[in-house]
């Protein structure tokens, strides 16, 4: 063990920071008990910030560690920054909620940090075992924080449902991995890519691919593996839902892209069928099923299913431009989602109750002008109305599909986003034109800041789109 050893491990520094920090926080929590939850929350935020700083300052040069299990490249860096940013903001959003609901348990922040560690491992995973272990580390912590409000029936139901269905999907994923290993003779993505040639891919391997994609589709909540999403989103405590919608979805989608592009580049035509199918199904369900929802968390769940469909459009192109559009869409999606959930977390009535019905937003533009305006902008952006950020995200995705000659896929995408615009615009109408029935409390400072920042991003993205497009392009190129 010498200096060179540690220098070689440098690309894994963020993961090591988070894992080591989590162990330290467990120790602090075990000594201090729930009284130290405030301290641990701050520690967790600092840890995530430090890991993010380590990521931003690291060079994006491609490196392979741990005997081929862990790949560091510009793609990993882009997505890791996004995941850590999402996790950090979701954690900060939870502070006020946990205080109000008397849920100050020190384990919450620790589990968020450990789950984020799992996500980072997933993003860098370049063989099947690292992929599975990253998934399990991430999901196991998520199951627990979905049920963290253990005296609340809906929260425990959400946790249990997520756990049972998640275990099932892990089983499918593992079954797929074992078949792929059996036919390819190796677990590393590069090795699989080498052994699977176009035209002579064995049926068993395609079988394994289908199971692997089914497991991944569950984790990104794509149709037909989306059933858990509305229930879990509605039942879990709201900041936990915000975390679910932001960080794990990015990590799972990044694994999806890396597996498809790195391990199966030669059988693009085979896996494209699967992606196109689940993409269309997700876009349709996201557009139609959200129309009848009255609970805003359920509505956002269906909206996220629809968004996953749009992201998969970018993946189905299978090109560098397609991956670039996925990265841009994911960034915009995370920021829009966090903004929406920050607004939902501010829906606290004067007597301290948190309401979550769409109709409770009525007249928000007059009672809380900033909140109402940002929520309306978020809805316009989710509906894909120019010049907001959501429009550009959809634009790049559809452009990539058209370049890959998937014309009808792009057409279906545009049609479903028109359908989806109906329920987004209905919320705008409720905010601006309905009579206010409820008066909300003043917004806590940190939520106000998050709402303002995400709102500013969505509103002014069109002025400086070039930097993010360039970074996403470099990240996408590192995969090919």
């Amino acid at each position: 063990m010498n200096g060179q050893f540690f220098a070689d491990l440098a690309p894994a520094l963020p993961e090591m920071l988070l894992a080591g920090g989590a162990l330290l926080m467990v120790l602090v929590g075990a000594i201090g008990g729930d009284r130290s939850s405030g301290l641990i929350n701050v520690l967790a935020a600092i840890l995530l910030l430090a890991a993010g700083a380590a990521l931003v300052t690291a060079s994006p040069e491609t490196k392979v560690l741990f005997n081929g299990a862990f790949t560091w490249d510009a793609y990993a860096r882009f997505l890791k920054v996004l995941v850590i940013g999402g996790a950090l903001i979701a954690l900060i959003m939870s502070f006020d909620y946990l205080r109000h609901e008397k849920l100050q348990r020190f384990e919450y922040a620790i589990l968020v940090v450990l789950s984020t560690t799992g996500m980072l491992i997933m993003i860098s995973a370049s063989d099947l075992i690292a992929l599975y272990l990253g998934f399990e580390l991430q999901s196991l912590a998520l199951y627990v924080i979905a049920a963290i409000h253990r005296d609340n029936l809906r929260s425990t139901e959400a946790g249990l449902k997520y756990f049972v269905l998640g275990a099932l999907s892990s089983g499918m994923l593992l079954y797929g991995c074992s078949l792929i290993y059996g036919y390819a003779g190796t677990i590393s993505f590069a090795g699989i890519a080498q052994s699977v040639q176009a035209g002579n891919a064995p049926t068993g391997l395609i079988f394994g691919l289908v199971f692997l994609f089914a497991g991944l589709a569950f984790k990104v909540s794509a149709v037909p593996f989306h059933m858990w999403t509305p229930d879990v989103y509605e039942g879990a405590p709201t900041p936990v839902t915000a975390f679910f919608a932001a960080a794990p979805k990015v990590a799972a989608m990044s694994v999806f892209v890396r597996v498809a592009i790195d391990a199966f580049p030669n059988i693009l035509d085979q896996w494209r069928q699967i992606i196109v199918f689940i993409s269309i199904a997700s876009m349709m369900l996201g557009a139609f099923a959200a129309i009848g929802q009255s609970n805003i968390k359920r509505l956002l769940a269906y909206s996220s299913i629809g968004n996953v469909g749009y992201i998969l459009v970018g993946l189905s192109a299978g090109t560098s431009n397609g991956v670039q559009s996925v990265l841009i869409y994911l960034t915009v999606y995370v920021i829009m989602t966090l903004g929406c959930f920050a607004v939902v977390l501010c829906m606290r009535t004067k007597d301290g109750r948190l309401v979550e019905n769409v109709d409770d937003l009525a007249g928000l533009a007059r009672t809380q002008p900033l909140m109402g305006f940002v929520m309306a902008m978020m809805m316009f952006s989710l509906a894909g109305i120019p010049p907001l950020a959501g429009f550009f995200a959809k634009f790049y995705v559809f452009l990539a599909a058209i370049e890959a000659q998937l014309y009808w896929l792009a057409v279906i995408g545009v049609v479903t986003s028109v359908v989806g615009a109906f329920y987004y615009l209905r919320i705008v109408k409720i905010i601006y034109f309905d009579e206010a029935t409820i008066e909300f409390q003043r917004m806590p400072f940190e939520l106000k800041a998050i709402i303002a920042l995400t709102g500013a991003f969505v509103l002014f993205y069109f002025i400086f789109p070039a930097p993010m497009v360039a970074v996403a392009g470099a990240a996408a190129n590192s995969l090919f």
């Binding site: 589990l111 491992i121 580390l137 052994s195 064995p202």
Partner: protein, 202 residues
């Protein structure tokens, strides 16, 4: 027939027979005992393969921990398995159908088996003969597979934290022994003198 193959048939035969008895025994406690027998014979098969470390782990972990845990659960829960098994026969047609479908699928998959060109090379690295199993495992576990080993540790940590978060409750009103308070008790705190008047009592 060599000695090794004689032992193979002995272990394999007893393993299959006791596995059958696990699902056939009426008494659940007997089922668990047969399960332990099956584990022992599987460990014997591992020994014949030269995998002595796996054999010992199987006995220590599965017999020593898992099967004993099963035994405790079966004894404590007092499940009436005879009742559960009533109506077993009525599920036979559908169960049989599922079994046949799985069999057909297995035959199809095994029948069309194609070994990837790189697969034989991957399994060519046999167990090294000059070092023990445990050492051979240790050499790759803490070097090539270091990441996986550490990640598994983290996953187990999350499982432990999760179990505590979701189930541990500090109930109010439960009396617990407080040794410090017991030791610190003085005569003044624990003893009071009353002057009892004759014929009145306390």
């Amino acid at each position: 027939m060599t000695l090794a193959s004689a032992f193979f048939y002995l272990f394999a035969g007893i393993a299959v027979a006791s596995a059958f008895m696990v699902i056939a025994a009426k008494n659940p406690v007997h089922s668990v005992l047969y399960l332990i027998l099956a584990f022992f014979n599987a460990a014997g098969l591992f020994l014949l393969l030269g995998a002595e470390f796996l054999a010992m782990i199987l006995v220590v972990v599965y017999v020593g921990a898992v099967a004993v845990l099963f035994l405790f659960v079966v004894m404590m829960l007092d499940v009436d398995f005879a009742e559960l098994r009533e109506g077993f026969l009525q599920y036979l047609p559908i169960g049989g159908l599922v079994g046949i479908i799985v069999l057909v699928e297995l035959v199809l998959v095994v029948g069309s088996w194609a070994v990837a060109p790189s697969a034989p090379q991957a399994i060519a690295e046999r167990t090294p003969t000059d070092i023990t199993n445990a050492e051979a495992l240790g050499r790759v576990l803490y070097t090539d597979y270091l990441l996986f080993f550490q990640l598994s540790g983290l996953i187990l940590l999350v499982a432990m934290i999760g179990a505590i978060v979701l189930t541990l409750r500090h109930k109010e009103g439960v009396k617990r022994q407080n040794i410090a308070a017991q030791v610190a008790r003085t005569k003044a705190a624990g003893l009071s003198l009353h002057d009892v008047k004759p014929g009145q009592g306390l």
